[in-house]
Symmetry: C2
């Protein structure tokens, strides 16, 4: 089994680890220490060696921060994690506060005393965040001080897990679809157009995409930790620990890419003296800006130049994603068949469901990893948006309720992410009504046609309007980008209430996942991945319109649908989707599962 169900921290972490951290702080003359969730690579999922916030506090959510004073400490999380933080963190040790709207800066301004030194690790903070923190400290009469060595790392000492050393291997052209040399050439030209001689790339996904390599340093995503300098002429320097370099890698990278050691990076940055260097302040920490500034380079702040090209998948990647979704759809359909038969006769607990689904995916023979830990939320657990089943929280599905299963897989040809919500026993009329509203939102977004230049924020309301009309909503985004055998959350595009300036462009893969959550009772989410299609004419129209092709192939539980709430057009849209699922997934199944799929995808 890939997924585990233990808990890697407990509330004793804070009381046990804080004294050691404070001692190390004192040795460096620090009155306080900033502990962000982010690591040196600004990853969403951290290698255990870099989960400093988790070790210091016990909190394992995907976003947060802590501030540790000698005589007090606070942890900051957003609304998604208000329940989880109370479960994981000792509230006597850490005051629990809200992360949003400058929670950390407001706290520093109020908690710091004149003359105090607040330590930080410059490798962990973006320059913009640091600037705001610096101002907050100044307003309190305190100063921010870069710690020569992170006191938390010193306190962690021998107990700290080793840095990940997963081998970095070529990602073949049959999956990548474009040679690294071609990618480097066109990104290099874009750099030149911006007047930059080079760009420092620090996002592992950028390295993976640009050099057509994959690693395994971060669980659930095949990322190689490292850095690179891409020059405007397309040549590059790639900094990877030699222990991760596989035998075939140097030849794969070719002559234009110099493979170097991480300790060579500072010297390489110093060589950029006098040059204009593009760095993304959202991806690269203040350390890079300071190092380049000290070297006399002219730092140009801008978007990571690989982010948009990476998001717009090429034809080979899109075809790969279709294949991955065919395979994944068959595995998921086998699971849904099991849930609809054995799972009805004897409702499983969440962990059993997760294991069953993983086994079906493993049986494809192509599974490289899950793309994230499967969320199986029975009844009230389904209403916890960022739920992950553990031995302690594990709950058995209840008859007359719903189970929400959000899962995905990493295959060489593509990354999947799909949520289905299934009935156990007979759902209530309220469950069916709300499931249908969520479905209507999903269908509205899936069928949208829109002109070039339209952003995800402009389309977000399409998925919410049916819920809004009934006084309901969900407190998460409607869609996130997805990588190609890369991260399951990938920018720069998204579909959400937050204003976005990034237009949806052909080849972008994005999720469509409206939901509804009734605290303590049940959760509903319907999630498909979609790829943005090129502008195409519409009969009788004047302007070509972009649209979506749905990639995910798995039946949507007809038992949860209040048929009478759907318009004829909505029914036809769902029937057509189900016919596609039947046609494409059916031939991969046999016997009972195939017969079940026929019924599960029959017209409403």
């Amino acid at each position: 089994m890939r997924q585990t169900f233990d808990e890697s921290t407990d509330p004793s972490f804070g009381p046990r680890h804080l004294p050691r951290i404070r001692e190390a702080m004192a040795e460096q003359g620090l009155d306080a220490l900033l502990v962000p969730h982010e690591d040196e690579h600004q990853n969403e999922y951290l290698p255990p060696a870099n989960d400093r916030l988790g070790w210091a506090t016990g909190f394992t959510g995907s976003a947060g921060a802590a501030v540790i004073f000698q005589d007090k400490a606070a942890i900051f999380v957003d609304g998604r994690y208000t329940l989880q933080v109370r479960d994981q963190v000792d509230a006597a040790t850490f005051e629990i506060r809200d992360l949003v709207d400058g929670g950390v800066t407001a706290y520093i301004e109020q908690a710091a005393r004149p003359g105090q030194s607040i330590g930080y690790d410059p490798r962990l903070h973006s320059p913009d965040a640091l600037e705001r923190l610096r101002h907050a400290a100044a307003r309190a009469g305190a100063i921010l001080k870069a710690a020569p060595q992170n006191p938390l790392d010193l306190a962690w000492g021998a107990e700290r897990p080793a840095q990940p050393m997963a081998p970095v291997a070529p990602h073949p052209l049959e999956f990548a679809g474009e040679a690294s040399s071609d990618k480097r050439r066109r990104i290099g030209e874009a750099l030149a157009q911006q007047g930059a001689a080079a760009s420092v790339l620090t996002a592992p996904a950028s390295l993976a995409w640009l050099f057509n390599i994959r690693g395994g340093d971060v669980i659930r995503s095949p990322l190689p930790l490292g850095q690179a300098i891409l020059n405007a002429d397309g040549t590059a320097r790639l900094f990877l620990d030699p222990r991760k370099v596989t035998a075939e890698l140097p030849a794969w990278l070719g002559n234009e890419v110099r493979l170097e050691r991480p300790e060579d990076l500072p010297g390489a940055l110093a060589e950029l003296s006098g040059q204009t260097v593009l760095v993304d302040a959202a991806q690269s920490s203040a350390w890079y800006f300071e190092a380049l500034g000290a070297a006399g380079a002219h730092v140009l702040r801008g978007d990571d130049p690989t982010a948009l090209p990476r998001a717009c998948k090429n034809a080979v990647e899109i075809e790969g994603s279709r294949r991955a979704h065919l395979r994944d759809g068959a595995a998921l359909t086998r699971f849904l068949h099991w849930m609809a038969t054995e799972g009805q006769a004897s409702p499983p607990d969440e962990i059993t469901a997760v294991r069953k689904l993983e086994a079906f995916r493993e049986a494809t023979g192509a599974l490289k990893d899950l793309s994230f830990d499967t969320i199986a939320g029975a009844a009230g657990n389904g209403a916890v948006v960022h739920y992950r089943p553990t031995e302690r929280l594990n709950k058995r599905a209840q008859s007359g309720s719903l189970m929400l299963i959000d899962s995905g897989a990493q295959y060489l040809d593509g990354t999947t992410d799909v949520t289905r919500t299934v009935a156990v026993g007979e759902p209530t009329a309220e469950m069916k009504a709300r499931f249908t509203l969520v479905l209507q939102g999903n269908l509205a977004l899936a069928r949208a046609r829109f002109p070039a230049g339209t952003t995800g924020s402009a389309l977000d309301a399409l998925a919410r309007t049916p819920l809004w009309a009934h006084g309901l909503d969900y407190d998460h985004g409607t869609g996130h980008g997805v990588g190609s055998y890369l991260g399951v959350h990938e920018g720069p595009h998204r579909i959400s209430k937050a204003a976005s300036l990034v237009a949806l462009q052909p080849g972008m893969v994005v999720s469509n996942e409206p939901g509804y959550y009734k605290a303590g009772e049940y959760g509903i989410r319907i999630e498909n991945l979609q790829v943005v299609t090129a502008p195409a004419p519409i009969e009788g129209g004047e302007r070509p319109m972009l649209g979506f092709e749905t990639l995910t192939l798995a039946p949507i539980d007809r038992r949860c649908i209040a048929r009478e709430m759907l318009s004829d057009a909505e029914r036809a849209q769902l029937d057509a989707y189900h016919a596609r699922v039947r046609e494409l997934v059916g031939p991969q199944l046999e016997g009972e599962a195939r017969a079940w799929l026929e019924a599960a995808t029959a017209p409403l």
Copy 2:
């Protein structure tokens, strides 16, 4: 008649006026001069005395700019005005270029020669715009130079119309709904919370709203030109030309508002030395920033503190707007009856239609002004979004086509803005199909319910989705804010594709005006004003939702609707709106008009 149909400029303006401007430039040692459309008050509509761009070029659109060199000149307009500029401006004198995406800065960078001095009038440019222009000039090796006196004004000389001197009078509490002292107190508190001791207000609408006064310096909007300094304690200094001050004004303003002369303003700004002063860089020109900087004040850039409170209408203003719309709806319905009877028998030309509609509004006895020049666009003229009928362009309505009429009125109790598109003869199937798509967008936006925090950009797509699905769209925003007996275009909210950070809030009035334009053939627009309603529970729901109350009351032409395209719910929504129109407007009509309204608002 209030509206005129002449043209105030012609293409000879450029060749005739440019030599005089260049002479005045040379006397100040300037190689070039920047001529923005904006005047000292950043108004949308200019008093004739301030239409410098019009006098220099002949172009009368609502946005644009010119750059005049000694040996060349260029005019910059956006996509809305590409036809109009060629009609109004001598292309041999002015090169015609695109305003968007930094058109002026790119031109300066390319056209200026090293060592040249480019003159500007600091009262006419925002500090941000000026900064960009300064950089562009620097890249060309040229410098930007503030002209002690605007050379264009000197060249204009005695031909320049006099500055407007319309009397400024109290706007009674029965219309304003909140005493100026209360407004000043709460805005003052908001200033204090931002750490500001005062704010310099330069937008005429801000003065009108804050002091509950109305003027008439700008045609079509009751704006008093002037400036004010509002202090955090709620006291203020108001700078108005004494010739505009009516007898009752000083007592109306009370003891807390000191009435002063415009020439006292520089001294008053100098007195702000050492204080933190809030100024809106989008409303106030660089002159204010320079004057305050020179005085040693600390300038805090931020939104005009009256903008958001002004946009959120109070109960008295909303009730006033309902009254104004009742009255205006009756006038418009009389006009629509005329169009549907006499206008069918003998189709009118555009000017006749405009005069007829104005006469119906005048007959209410309450008309203070039109809120903008009525657009009546017959056939192909209807497809020109910013059309204004003139004797030269005037066209007779054609049988088998459409006429688009966009108009509005200024009443003491409210400002209206409404567009109806009516059939002349029998419209074609295509016209009806496209009218119906526009109507579906209008209905979708009108019935939207949405949670607090939703911006206009999030709702814009609701009005476009039906058109998008058929490969159609319109190239203007979906909705703009509207003042209360103030400007017909009022921020800070809007409903448009452009990203907005301003959430829609209860009391905001906003238009709902999707359209469709077939160049050379016909234009369709359906526009109602709506007021945002307070969050209210929805039966069976969990979260209170905001929504819209439609203010505009006038029938939508049933002859243009393809009934079979509407869903049952859409038909019911339209029928309910028409029933409201019948119920509220009907009793104001008599005889044939009333009978016609009965038929025109019958269920579909």
